[in-house]
Symmetry: none
Subunit: 286 residues, 2 copies
DNA sequence: TATATATTGGAATTTTTATTCCATTTTTGT
DNA sequence: ACAAAAATGGAATAAAAATTCCAATATATA
């Protein structure tokens, strides 16, 4: 037997699955025993199979945060000839994906009662979300959006206002602004301390308020209070009759679709993310 | 004007569609007026789009019965930089992805500077959301969803676990369950009291936990603690490597698409809503 | 803690792939 | 049928990509 064998040429037994499911299983079983970077790649590959299918070694390596050579090593450690060979598995999967889709719908119908019902609920909510997103294209005007971003970009601190149904959106804004290095304060109104949380806001700051019917009184009240103190208010709401409109310097209209008694929040989220990133970029510019 | 212009550098007007549908239309309209080999390629491309997406110049040329150079000429005659550029359109179609960020800006050029940028951000986030929703159809299996609903429906109280990026989703669950008359407790971990908030949970209850990469340790830890105490855990996560998987009795996979550094949450929301409504309905039944 | 072993980063190399160029053939218009 | 323009094939070249190799680092073992 040869001496001085390097890891690069590691011996491989009977692996190298030739379809995606097999690869997936292999990856899952081996994952715990893998070294750091390879583990990282295994996770990346299963999370972004499309990137692996289409990307180049350099591109994927950058995305996954490893060196190009690690990709080749990864492929070899699984028993493939090299990265190109491994990539083939990912590509094959995509080629077969379209037929898969129809099978699924068929299978959905044949399944038993519960499943169908659960799946159709999911379908219903997905559909409502998709409709909301589509509608937003028509209702949000680019100039207004740009004005909203300008207002927020000029602010020293952004105070985030939203309650009940839209609280998730505003909570997400707090996360996003924080990530982007924009100072923002979430008015979560714990212990009914909303007014106090907003007390430190001044004219150089701004308020981002969100409210949909039935408008939560806190949000409208606090926004009005801010406006009275000459703090710029950017509002996201669902109609021109919203109480927020009178307090707002700029407002954006989003009409979410519903399914059953529940309304989507998808369009609001997309809009909130655009505001956050737009604001951060505008600040970076100057 | 230059003399002796060659066909290779043919002038191109305003073509070069940046999505597959546009390309298809262009190909169909130009087809009749094309020279023999290019016509041949147009037909081949529409008939075997996947081969074009994955193949190499040499390979496709052979398959289609033309010279490699003809492929490059074909791409250029349509207004693309070269074959690689044309191929990108075919690849985008397969991954259902947006044309490049920059390309997008070009398309919205008629508006003024800021507006364009803001609008394309919004477009990007909307699209990521739509893609996420669509993908979910493939990754969530109806039977698993039904099992998750059953587990939650049997529970006395549902404890809601989620932090950081997914906190909005779990916060929304608290709202939805409340509206539906299902007893649920939001573990918001205020004052680091997460473990205490979960202390009252017992085997007759259930935990609904959500976590995506990079997995917040609190969520994984609390879910593991619950599992140890034999409390059923339903998890929503983004890969089989998630630390939640080991603790979960049922887990649902959702891979959200991203735009820039931010991932959508739309699919997670839709799934959460389906779980909530499904649970409420199941309880009402029996 | 010292030593052996595995893992990783990054530059150098090789291979593959796209593109360009030009001589030859085909088509078009007169 | 003839000249001019367009189209084509195929070799030559340039560009991009994958792969290999080795030094540096980290990890495990005694």
């Amino acid at each position: 037997m040869r001496v001085g064998r390097r890891m690069d040429e590691a011996e491989v037994t009977t692996e190298a699955p030739d379809d995606f499911d097999g690869l997936r299983t292999l990856l899952l079983s081996r994952h715990d025993a893998m070294p750091k970077r390879l583990k990282q790649l295994a996770a990346f590959a299963l999370e972004h199979p499309e990137d692996v299918a289409f990307g180049t070694v350099a591109g994927i390596a950058e995305h996954a945060g490893v060196q190009p050579s690690t990709l080749v090593r990864f492929a070899k450690s699984l028993g493939y000839d090299g990265f190109s060979h491994l990539q083939q598995i990912f590509r094959d999967r995509l080629r077969e994906r379209f037929p898969d889709y129809r099978e699924r719908l068929k299978g959905l119908r044949d399944a038993e009662g519960h499943h169908v019902h659960a799946a159709s609920l999911l379908d219903g909510f997905s559909h409502a979300a998709a409709v909301s997103l589509d509608r937003m294209r028509g209702s949000v005007r680019p100039e207004e959006l740009a004005r909203a971003i300008e207002t927020l970009a000029k602010a020293d601190t952004i105070y985030l206002l939203g309650a009940r149904r839209v609280f998730p959106v505003i909570a997400y804004c707090a996360y996003a602004f924080g990530k982007l290095g924009v100072r923002a304060i979430l008015i979560d109104h714990v212990g009914q301390l909303g007014p106090e949380q907003l007390a430190t806001a001044a004219g150089r700051d701004a308020v981002l308020a969100i409210s949909f019917t039935p408008y939560a009184p806190v949000t409208a009240d606090l926004a009005a209070a801010a406006a009275l103190r000459n703090i710029p208010v950017v509002a996201i709401t669902d109609s021109a009759f919203s109480p927020l409109v009178t307090s707002a310097d700029v407002w954006l209209e989003v009409a979410e679709a519903d399914f059953g008694a529940f309304r989507s929040l998808s369009a609001s989220f997309a809009l909130a993310m655009a505001l956050a990133v737009g604001t951060a970029e505008k600040r970076a510019e100057g």
